[in-house]
Amino acid sequence: MNKKILAYVALFLVFVYAVVPMLINISGRLDFYYTLTSVALLSIASAGVWLTFYIGRINIGQGAFALAGGYVSAILISQYGFNFWVTLPIAGLFCAVLSVFIGLPILRLRGVYFAMVTLVLTEVMRLTTLALPITQGAKGITSLPLPSGLEIFGLKLIPDFSTLENPKVGFYMMAITLMIIAYAVLYRIVNSRLGHLCRSLQQNEELASSIGVNTTYLRVLTYSISSFFGGIAGASFVAITQSIYPSSFQVADSINFMLNCFLGGLGYVFGPMLGTLMLYFGWDLLFTIGKYQMLVYSSLLIILMLFLPNGVLSLFDRKEKR
């Protein structure tokens, strides 16, 4: 069984690192790099949302953390001259810490209440970045440099993106690598005791506390991991677009992150990844039909929900689901 999983992973790695770039080169559709980079980064943020689902909370606030992470990175780069690669973990940690303070009170809420408060949180973050002087209001922070190189002990780990022949490939590699790390972490969490405890929390919080689980701690911990993912995704987006505005991540994005999870399936670790891919590509492909894009897209969503209410991956559900 373990060997089988390893084989799948190896296959996946070869596919995303070698086959996809090759296919893109053959087809000459270099714009796919950008699309796939976006999918990879959005799926990191969605992975965070999925994790909060795993403790039984509907999180429509990931946009807030993506925005916060993006601004942290942008401010550190533009005003303090930090290297992007250093700001990336800082942005994640900032969001994780922020989410502890936000999470402590609001994670006591359940169901729709939590969902709505997180929805409002996205709006609060947007309005805050509009109001604060350091974020420069609606103008945003623009013309950021491309990520510079990263050396540790003279060892060149990452080349300077501005020297790259095609930075798009660089960004693609970066996004894919981050995504793989994020999902590896997620997979480990879900399949370790931490995940079992999260599931116990999802199913019955009172019972969980009666078997000695510190539910508050676990909720806040999970939420901060989730927000860490959001911050990383936001900061990476800033690097690619070289700019950030209060409108870079809004309520619609938060809702999309949630939809990605639903679509892929809440019971499956790789659900959000598949969901993001499908939603993003679906939307892009439908662009060709012009003004009917939205109509077809939303109809598909509704039909999918009617026939696969537990996500696309439930198609592959064997009878004996854990």
Partner: protein
Amino acid sequence: MEQIIVNGLYLGAQYALIALGLTLIFSLMNVMNFAHGQMYVMGGFITYTVVSQFNIPFFIALIISGMALAVIGALIEKFLFRPVIKKSKRDESTMLLAAGIGFFLDSVILLAFGEKQRGVPKIIDGVFNWDFRIIMPYDRIVIGCIAIAMIIAFMLLMHYSKAGRAMRALAQDKVAATLMGVNVDRYQMIGFALGAMLAGVVGGLLVTITGINLGMGGPTSTKAFIMIMIGGAGVIPGAIVGGFILGMMESVGLSVLSQYGDITYLLIFASLMIFLAIRPHGLMGKPWG
């Protein structure tokens, strides 16, 4: 000061009416209707179309848009929400469905009515002016009064009609209501239709004053969510209280803090989060299990 209060009451009456529909749907089916704002926008556009294209009097148009939305709501409940609720493992699936329906209605509105801001002519001209302390156009007063009258009618309906009593029983305890012989499917459909109808009527009311455009759906839904969280989700008086509170806060905020731009909403949202942290089920909500 008086002006701020009157503005707040006027806004609050409309808000409360939107929130009523949302909370009714939530209390009956445990569904957060993300498409509520779109239903409201749709009501506005239907009223506009009926008035301006067919030259039908505004009040009849209002009734038509209410009826149209009721039918749409009933169909959405019967053919979309009901099967999904029955099949899905988790109740959250209905959120995706609701969001999908929201997008769908948005696109229908776009195709049918276009992107332009639309409005209908004022129903009454003139401005009420009391010593320059309260200045209020007559049409706003009429619309505010209609909204309040509808809230009262809705409350009466819920308390004294058979359907109203059945829906209240259903909201309180689904199992007990079923045992008492309440037809769950039927009243959920009626409730959804009623909620959608309210959204449609408010949309129609506002089209005479602020007009209506495609982008108003999402923000309206968000505001409606806020109102029912203030009052307590699924509690009908809570929705009314929440609506008036939000109306007041906006009215005060917009007049006191107008020079700071959107800071009013930032303050409203932030204080809502603090409020919910202290009172997790709003002013009148019942705690969950």
